[in-house]
Amino acid sequence: MAEATILICDDEPHLRELMRVSLDRDYEFAEAADTAEAIELAARVRPDLVLLDVMMPGGSGLAVIERLRKTPELASVPVVVVSAFVTDGDRRAAHDAGADGFIGKPFDPDELASVVEELLAANR
C-alpha cells in the first residue's frame, strides 16, 4: 500500500510541525504557509488529504476548499479544517464550504490522527 500524501496548510511553522509529528510517520507530507502556496502545492502533489487552517495570509482557507472543489482531479480530496475559530457558525461555514472534517485549535494529537485515518480509510 502506497503511503498517503497529506498537505498541511498553516501559517504557523510550529503548528505545521505539531500536525506532522501528531500523525504517524508513514505519511508523505507537503507544507504550505499561505493560500496561494496551498493551491499550488495541491495541484502539484495531488494529496490524499488536506489539513487546512482558516486564517492564513492571502485569504481565507475556506476559499481554498472552493478552489479545490472546482478542480476536477482534486474535487473529492478530503479536507479537514483545523482552525482557532471554533464557534458553531465557524464550523457551519467550513462544512458549507465543503470541508469533510473540522478540528478546533487547540487539538489533541491523537484525535487529529484518528480523524485523518478514518477519512483516508473511507476514501480508499
Binding site: 505539531l18 501528531s22 486564517m55 492564513m56 495570509p57 485569504g59 494529537p109
Partner: protein
Amino acid sequence: MRAADPVGLGRRALDRVARRTASIPLLSQVVVASALITLLVTGVFAVFLIAMSDLRGSTNVQARSKDVTTATLGLERVVNELEANLRAFVISGNDRFLRPWRQARDALPEAIAGLDKLVADQPVQREQLSRLTPRIQEYVSDYGVPLISIARVSPEAARAPVATTEGLRRINSVRSQLSRLLASEDAYASAQEASAKREAARAVRLGVAALVATGFLLLLFCVFLARGIARPVRDVAVGASRVAAGDLSTRLPEKGPAEIHELTHAFNAMARSLEQGQRELEAQNQQLRESERLKSELVSIVSHELRTPLASIIGYATLLLKRDFGETEVRRYAEIIRTQGARLTSLVEEFLDVQRVEQGRFELKDEFVDLKPLLVSEADVVASEAPKHQVDVLVPHDALPVRGDRDRLAQVYGNLVANAIKYSPEGGRVEVAGEVADGVVRVRVRDEGIGIPDEHQARIFTKFFRGEARESGIAGAGLGLAVAREIIEAHGGRIGFESREGHGSAFWFELPLSAGGSAGSPHEPPSP
C-alpha cells in the same frame, strides 16, 4: 410680445397685492377689508337715500306748483267777478250788482298777497305778479270806480262804446298777464320735475354701480380669504399628514401674512427637529449595531489569538506526555512551549494596555532615549522572522534623541514594522527612516503591501477596527495602532499615515527633539 391675458393679468395683480401685503398680519388685513366693504355699503345706502330725497323734492315741487295754479285761478275768478258785475251794473243800472263788485274788490288784496307768498322764491313769477298787480288795481281804481260814478250820473255815457272799449282793453291786458303767469308756472314746474327725475335716475345708476362694485369687492374678499387662510391652512394640513406618514423631510414655503408665516415657520422648525431627532436616533442605532458587531468580532478575534499559541502549548505538551522522543526533540518542543507561552503573555499585556489606556492609568517613564539604535535592533528582530521581506533601515549619522519611555516607544515602532510585514503578505521591501527636522524626531515605516482602502482610513486608529484584515487572513486583535496612538500622544507627539489601496502604506510618528540632542544632522544614508 405676449398677448394680453385678462385672467393672467388678474392673477398677477392678485399676486402683487399678496406680495405687498405679505408681512401685514392677517387679522389687520381682514379688519381693513371688512371696514372698506362696510364703508362702501354705507356709501351705496347714502346714494339711494339721496335718490329718494330727490324724488320727494320733485313731489314737493308739484304740490307747490298746484297751489300756485289754484291761487292764480282764484285771482282770475275775482277779476272775472269784478268785470261781470261792473258790466251788469252799467247795463242795468241796478245797485244789486254793486255788492258783489265791492266784495270782489275787497277780496283782491288777499288773493294777491296769497299768490305773492307762494311765488316768493320764484323771481320770474314774482316779477310777473308785480307787473300784474298795478294793472288790476288800476282797473279797479282808474276804470271801475269812475265808471260807477259816471253811470249814476249818466247811464248813457257809461254805456258809450268808448267806455266799453277801454274796459275791454284793460281787462284783456289783465287776463293775458294772468295766463302768462299760469304758463310760466307750468313751465317752471315741469322743468323742476324733469330735473328731479334726472337727479333720481342718476342716483339710482350710481347706486347700482356701487352695488355691483360692492359685489365685486366681496368676491375679491372671498378670494383673498381663500388665498390668505384656506389655502395655507390646507397646505399645512397636507404637510402635517406627510410628516405623520413618516416623510420628515417635508418643508413648507415660509411666506404669506404674519400668522401664516409664523405657522409655516413653526411647522418647519418642528419638522426639522423631528428629522434631526430621527437622524440622531438612527446614528445612535448605527453606532450601537456597529459596536455590537465589533464586540462580537472582538470576542471571536481574542479567542482566535489566544487559541493559536495555546494550540502549540497544549499540542506539544500532550505529545511529550503521551509519546517518547529523543533528547533533542524534547528540548525543542519544550522551547516551543516556552516561546508560545511568552507570546500568550505579551498578548495578554496588549489587552491590558487597552484597559490601561481606557482607564487613563498609563504610566510612562521619562528618560533620555536615542531612537537610532532602537530602530536598528527592533528591525533586526522582526526581519529575522520574515524571510520574504527585505527590511531597510535608514538613519542619520547622529543620534535621534527624545525623552520618554524606551519600552513603550519600542512597542510602537515594533508594532508599525510588524504591521508593515503583516499587511504585505506577498513580501517586498519595508523601509524604515529616522530623521531630525523642525525640532522633531520623525520615524517613518513604509511598505509595499495591500494599503488601506479610503473608506477605512478614518477609523484605522479605532481600537478593534481591523478593516478587511480578517477576510484577508491577517491575524491580530486590532489593538496595536490604537495603543500606539495613545503612547505617542502621551509623549506629546503625533502619529499618522499616508496610504493608497494596493500600493502600500507609510506610517509615521513625530516626537519632540530632546534638548540634549543635536539638530539638523546630515543623513547617512540619506532618507528618501
